[in-house]
Amino acid sequence: MPRTMRHILVALVPVAAMALLPLVYSNQLLLFNFVVFMILAQGINVIYGFTGYLPFGYFGFFGAGAYGFAISIMHLRMTPLPALGMAAIAAVVLALVLVPLFRLSGAYFAIANLAAGLAVYQVVSNPSLDNITKGPYGISLPAVFDPNFSYGIALVLLAATMMTVIYLRNSKFGLSLQAIRDDAVSAAMAGVNVVRLRVMAWLLSAVIAGLVGGVFAWYISVFYPQTVFSLDFSIFAIVFALFGGMTTILGPIIGVVILYGIYNLIGISTPQYFELVYGLLIMGLVLFQPNGVVALFKRWGIDVP
């Protein structure tokens, strides 16, 4: 079987699992949160895994998508599906505005990106924009509230995100991005258009976050700026992706299943033990398995793409 086809079949497993789980488990919101973090972790995979740029302010795209969706519903009277398109556009516009941040690298990029995310939050929650964003007073979209349909769309988005990562894993574009990540100067000398490809990956990653932000807004339908511009989304997605394994197809998904699973099993009932277990897991991983859980499977001879 061709490699790409095998990857596609493997990638469909988590999508199918998340589609079937509501039939046996009725807390759909918990399952929805799993899907949201799977998509966000894959979005982090695209920008951090393939280009090496760590976006601490990734929640900014998520929030921009949520507000792009909400504003389209409230002011443009759109139905949810076209409004999701506006969510993606809002994230792309923000990503384009932030392109100059690529002049920075490493920790400087991460911190500047975080500041940018927080700045967007302050702008959106400014009372002077009450007529447009509802300022700090919160959004309510009861007319479009449809948990089942929005859950279905989230699954479609998860599938599309998985396909995107498969494309990056198996295409010249993805290889070029990895070359840039490993050594931008050498890549440029080999004929790779570093600036253009990096911006494309950045926009792709922003679109993913914007779309999932829009679906999130659709599903929960009542939210405040601090709900969607929450640093937790960035931190969780980055940790999940790192834990599972960057630049892999299933790594971020495995990271979400294990870590978000642990979070929901013991993180809520006994947060003190959860922090201990979480801390030990992450420390152990960084020290002994920096390439994530997937690398561990590979060492055991199990091929996880």
């Binding site: 807390n27 949201v36 929650s125 009372p127 601090q226 937790d232």
Partner: protein, 419 residues
């Protein structure tokens, strides 16, 4: 033939017995109350006292054999199912769903504060569960098309500041207040209050002008430049609306800058007096006007413990000051008491019957939190308003709080302008 007759009678009797059994209400062994709390994160200082107040009520009820439920005609023990959302909205959302779909609670109580309450709204509505809202006072929650929410422990944000703007427009002209400055943190709670106060002053036609009107991010902790900006506008009265951290920073910066305002209002010194004495210093609180919450007012409750009794019970149950006693403790306990009254009068355990029973208490129930009054159309709390108090020097390095507005509740004479 006789045998047939016996069989027929037996058959009919069986049918009647089955029908009677089906018609009878099955009494559960326990009533499950589901709620969330935040032990860490932004909302922990608000959430934990509310949760502990509610827990104290549950423990007292269970010590008496449970809560009386009219629909079953007997006392039934309460099982409190509570989860820690750690101030995370995504976690809170899935936990609300967990309480409804997995734990199948009979009664759903929201976490404290508007942000953590907001995510419960659509979930409660979808599952047709009444959301008992202790102190999520965001005005957008309460609309006539949403019957599945009722606010218990504090007035909705548009009513919260009623006494501030009424003081300014009623008493202001008599005192010579003509110019007002409004500084507020840009969040739902204080932003809504600022809007309401601004509109009320403009509408009052008293000639009072808003000469300074500025929103700042809720994360603001440096006010020195802002204070000088307010001073330059020469206001007679300054209203600063923020969360405790904002109020503390503002008052500290004000004391350090040496600037004095003739009339200054901030919300939290009255609600968290001991904390403000430690962080701002006693002198920094002199002559400040503030909200006078139920934890100070000592309202005479129609049932349940009095404020001193509740305070003593709190100290006994939570020794060592691990969770501070404040207004939110009263809110948590009051939520339980209102629920107790409603369960004692609701005709059935149907969620809308429960809402009807709660709304039916409106105007009739005096709680530790003041007069309980709910808007029957929206479920918003419109009673339990906050009187205005002033902090005055008392003895050597001490303070005392007096109520100055509304006049019928006044316990002392206000000092204006502040020396």
């Amino acid at each position: 033939m006789a045998m047939r007759k016996i069989f027929f009678i037996f058959f009919v009797a069986s049918l009647v017995a089955v029908a009677c059994r089906a018609g009878a209400t099955e009494v559960p062994k326990q009533i499950k109350i589901g709620t969330l709390y935040a032990s860490s994160g932004t909302f922990a200082p608000l959430s934990m006292p509310v949760h502990y107040g509610l827990k104290l009520w549950v423990d007292r009820m269970n010590a008496e054999g449970g809560v009386y439920i009219k629909a079953y005609g007997k006392r039934i023990p309460i099982k409190l199912i509570s989860y820690d959302d750690q101030s995370n909205t995504a976690t809170a959302a899935s936990l609300y769903d967990q309480l409804i779909t997995q734990d199948k609670v009979n009664i759903l109580i929201a976490d404290a504060g508007s942000v953590l309450t907001s995510v419960a709204l659509p979930i409660a509505r979808e599952h047709k569960m009444l959301l008992i809202d202790p102190i999520g006072i965001g005005a957008p929650f309460f609309t006539p098309d949403s019957p599945y929410i009722v606010l218990i422990g504090g007035p909705v944000s548009t009513i919260w500041c009623k006494n501030i703007h009424e003081f300014i427009t009623d008493e202001g002209p008599k005192l010579g207040i003509k110019r007002v400055a409004i500084l507020y943190s840009t969040n739902d709670f204080t932003g809504t209050q600022a809007n309401t106060i601004r509109k009320a002053i403009e509408k009052s036609r008293t000639g009072i002008k808003v000469v300074y009107d500025q929103g700042v991010p809720t994360s603001t902790t440096s006010y020195t430049v802002i204070i000088n900006g307010i001073k330059a506008a020469k206001p007679d009265a300054v209203i600063e609306l923020g969360y405790p951290i904002n109020d503390i920073s503002f008052l500290r910066n004000l004391r350090e800058s040496g600037v004095k305002f003739k009339w200054l209002f901030t919300s939290y010194p009255g609600m968290e007096t001991e904390h403000f004495e430690k962080t701002v210093g006693v002198k920094g609180l002199y002559y400040v006007y503030t909200d006078m919450p139920a934890s100070i007012m000592n309202y005479k409750a129609a049932f349940g413990m009095s404020l001193p009794e509740f305070h003593a019970a709190w100290n006994k149950q939570y020794p060592g000051g691990k969770v501070g006693f404040d207004f939110n403790s009263v809110v948590g306990y009051t939520t339980g008491l209102v629920l107790e009254k409603a369960l004692g009068s609701a005709a059935s355990m149907d969620q809308l019957a429960l809402r009807q029973a709660i709304v039916g208490l409106s105007g009739k129930l005096k709680t530790l939190d003041g007069t309980f009054a709910v808007d029957p159309k929206t479920g918003a709390q419109i009673g339990e308003t906050m009187p205005i108090g002033q902090i005055l020097p008392s003895g050597k390095d001490g303070i005392k709080l007096i109520v100055v507005y509304p006049k019928q509740l006044a316990t002392g004479k206000l000092v204006y302008p502040a020396p």
